[in-house]
C-alpha cells in the first residue's frame, strides 16, 4: 500500500510538472488551500461556488468526453465521483465505457478529450505517437485469476500467475479470454507470453465481451479467467467462481498489478479537443479530495481502487513513456 502525504514541497513539484503543459490550469491542480484534504470536493476553494479567478480558462457549461475502460464504469466508481467535479466546475462529463483499446482509438480519432485506461504499453504508444499529453498515474487495483471452486488444473496453491496459466494450458482446462483488446486482455496476453505458453485449442475461448460478461460466461462453463479485482468483487454475489491466484493487493505476484492512468488528448493534434477541461479533470482527479473519494469508494464493503496520484516520491516515469529519458532525444 502506498502512503499518501501532503507535504507542500512535493505539491509544488507536481505543479511545475503539470504546469509544463497546462498554462493557467496549475491553479486547479492543487495549489489552493490545502484544507480540502479529505473533503470529496477536491482542492478548489472550499466553497466551490465562488466565481473562478481571473487567470483560469472559463470551462463552465462545457462537456468533457471521457473514454474509459469497462472496469471503471461498471464498478460504479465514475458515477460516484464525477458529481463532485461536475458541481465544482459547472460542467458535464460524458463517460463512454469501451475498453482500453477502443477508448484509445476513439481518442486517437479526436472523438474524446481525455482517457482513463489501464494498459501501460498501449498508453506509452499513445504518448509516443503524440496523441496524448500529461499522463498521470491515477490509481491501481490488481488482477486475479478466478476459476471454479473444484479447480481442475490445481492452480490454487501455486501463488504464481505464470505457473497457474501453464498448469491451465497443460490440463487443457477451460479458459475464457476477453479477446477484445482491453486492458485486461492485454495483461492476459502478456501473462501467457511470460509463461511461455501459446494458448489455443478448444479449451481457450475468446468472448469479445466486457469483463462482467466474460465472468458470467466463465461461471456458466466452469472455466478459469483473468479478471480485474474490482469487477470480480462487484459481481461476486452473482457467480460461483472463486479467486485462485491473488494479486499484489492480497500479497500475490507483482505481475498481476493493475495500474490506471489518465491522459489528456493532445490539442496540437486535435484542435477540437477540450484541453482546458481535460486538464481541469486530471488536476481534480489527482487532487487529495478526489483521491480520497476513490479510496473511499467501496462495493459490498470492499475497497475497489487504491489512489496512486499522491506519493512521497512522484515517479517521473508516469509522465513519459516507460524507458524514455530526456537525453534520449
Amino acid at each position: 500500500m502506498k502512503q499518501r502525504s501532503d507535504d507542500s514541497g512535493k505539491r509544488t513539484r507536481r505543479q511545475v510538472l503539470l504546469g509544463l503543459g497546462a498554462a493557467g490550469i496549475t491553479g486547479l491542480a492543487g495549489c489552493s488551500s490545502n484544507t480540502g484534504e479529505g473533503t470529496p470536493t477536491g482542492t478548489a476553494s472550499d466553497d466551490g461556488t465562488t466565481e473562478p479567478s481571473e487567470d483560469l480558462p472559463e470551462v463552465a457549461g462545457e462537456t468533457l468526453t471521457l473514454t474509459t475502460t469497462t472496469s471503471t464504469y461498471d464498478t460504479g466508481l465514475l458515477d460516484a465521483i464525477h458529481p463532485h467535479f461536475e458541481e465544482m466546475y459547472g460542467v458535464e462529463v460524458d463517460a463512454v465505457a469501451q475498453g482500453t483499446g477502443a477508448a484509445l482509438e476513439t481518442a486517437r480519432n479526436g472523438d474524446s478529450d481525455v482517457v482513463m485506461v489501464h494498459a501501460r504499453g498501449l498508453e506509452d504508444e499513445f504518448l509516443e505517437n503524440g496523441y496524448g499529453k500529461n499522463r498521470r498515474d491515477l490509481m491501481f487495483n490488481d488482477f486475479v485469476i478466478v476459476g471454479p471452486a473444484d479447480d481442475p488444473a490445481g492452480v490454487e496453491s501455486m501463488g504464481s500467475a505464470t505457473e497457474a496459466l501453464t498448469a491451465i494450458a497443460d490440463a487443457q482446462a477451460q479458459f475464457v479470454s476477453r479477446g477484445d483488446n482491453s486492458g485486461t486482455h492485454t495483461k492476459e496476453l502478456n501473462l501467457w507470453e511470460a509463461a511461455g505458453a501459446d494458448p489455443g485449442g478448444d479449451w481457450y475461448q475468446e468472448t469479445g465481451t466486457g469483463m462482467g460478461e466474460a465472468l458470467n460466461i466463465a461461471n456458466q462453463q466452469g472455466a478459469y479467467t483473468l479478471s480485474d479485482r474490482g469487477t470480480f468483487i462487484s459481481q461476486r454475489s452473482e457467480i460461483d467462481l472463486t479467486i485462485l491466484v491473488q494479486g499484489p493487493i492480497e500479497g500475490g505476484p507483482e505481475i498481476l498489478a493493475n495500474p490506471y492512468g489518465v491522459m489528456a488528448v493532445n490539442p496540437g493534434v486535435h484542435e477540437n479537443a477540450n484541453y482546458d477541461l481535460a486538464m481541469a479533470y486530471i488536476g481534480w482527479l489527482t487532487s487529495p479530495g478526489a483521491q480520497e473519494a476513490i479510496a473511499e469508494y467501496t462495493m459490498n464493503g470492499e475497497q475497489l481502487f487504491y489512489p496512486e496520484a499522491i506519493t512521497e516520491e512522484p515517479d517521473f516515469q508516469q509522465y513519459v513513456p516507460e524507458g524514455w529519458s530526456s537525453d534520449a532525444e
Binding site: 461498471d74 460524458d94 463512454v96 472523438d111 457467480i239
Partner: protein
C-alpha cells in the same frame, strides 16, 4: 429461467430510481420516432415515384433498397461513425456520441424497409382500381391518391416495420451514441437496447429482462396506436 413470481420483487425495487429507466425509455422513443418520421418523409415519396413512374435506373434503385433491407446494423453504425467522427466529412458538426448521430444511423436502417414495403403495397393495389380511377376521369394525381388510400394498410405496416427495426437495434446506436448517462443516471444516449446490453455485461440479468419487457411493451403500444390511427382513417370514408 426464473418464474415471474421471483421477478416480482425485482420489478418493485426496479431501477426506476432517479428516472433511469424513464430517461432510457424516452431516449429510445425520441430517437426512433424521429428517425422513422424522417425516414417516412423520404421513403414514401420515393416509393410513390417508383410505383407510378418509370425512369432509367429504377431497377438499380430497387436493388439498392433490397440490399439495404438486409444491411447489418453494426455496419451502418460503423459507416455513420466514420462520417461523424472528428476525422470524417461531418467531423466539424461534433455529432459523435449524440442523439443526432443515433438518429442518422436509425434513419439509414429504417429507410429501406419502409420504402420496400410501401412500394410493394402500392404495386399490390389491384390494377382494376387504377383503371377505374382513370375511367372516371381521374388525372394522374387523383389516381395516385386513390391508390395510396387503397394501400394505406401496407404503408402503415411499412412504417411499423421501420420503427421495429429502429427501436430494437443495438449495434449501431452503441457505436455512434456511446451509451452515455449523466452521473446521476439520467440517460443522454442510452436506449433501452443498449441499457440491456450494459446490464447483461454487468451480469444484472434480471434488470436486463425487465428492460426487455419494457421495450416489448413499448413496441406493442406504438403498434397499437398506429394501427388504431389507420382504422380511424378508414372510418370516415
Amino acid at each position: 429461467m426464473e418464474s415471474a413470481i421471483h421477478l416480482l420483487p425485482a420489478v418493485l425495487e426496479l431501477p426506476f430510481r432517479d428516472g433511469y429507466v424513464w430517461s432510457t425509455l424516452w431516449v429510445s422513443l425520441t430517437v426512433s420516432v424521429t428517425a422513422v418520421v424522417l425516414s417516412a418523409l423520404v421513403s414514401i415519396p420515393v416509393a410513390i415515384v417508383m410505383g407510378f413512374a418509370n425512369f432509367p435506373g429504377k431497377q438499380f434503385v430497387k436493388s439498392v433498397i433490397n440490399t439495404g433491407m438486409g444491411f447489418p446494423s453494426v455496419v451502418v453504425g460503423l459507416v455513420v461513425l466514420f462520417a461523424v467522427s472528428n476525422q470524417g466529412p461531418l467531423g466539424a458538426f461534433d455529432l459523435i456520441f449524440t442523439k443526432q448521430a443515433m438518429i442518422m444511423s436509425q434513419f439509414v436502417l429504417a429507410t429501406p424497409p419502409i420504402t420496400a414495403i410501401t412500394l410493394a403495397a402500392i404495386t399490390g393495389v389491384d390494377r382494376n382500381v387504377r383503371d377505374a380511377a382513370h375511367v372516371l376521369g381521374g388525372r394522374r394525381f387523383d389516381v395516385a391518391l386513390v391508390v395510396l388510400k387503397e394501400a394505406r394498410y401496407g404503408i402503415i405496416t411499412a412504417i411499423l416495420a421501420g420503427f421495429g427495426r429502429a427501436v430494437s437495434e443495438v449495434g449501431s446506436v452503441l457505436i455512434v451514441g456511446g451509451n452515455i448517462t449523466s452521473s446521476a443516471g439520467i440517460s443522454k444516449t442510452r436506449t433501452l437496447t443498449t441499457a440491456i446490453q450494459l446490464e447483461a455485461r454487468q451480469g444484472q440479468y434480471e434488470t436486463a429482462m425487465i428492460l426487455g419487457a419494457i421495450l416489448v411493451v413499448l413496441v406493442l403500444t406504438i403498434n397499437a396506436i398506429v394501427i388504431r390511427l389507420g382504422d380511424e382513417g378508414s372510418m370516415n370514408r
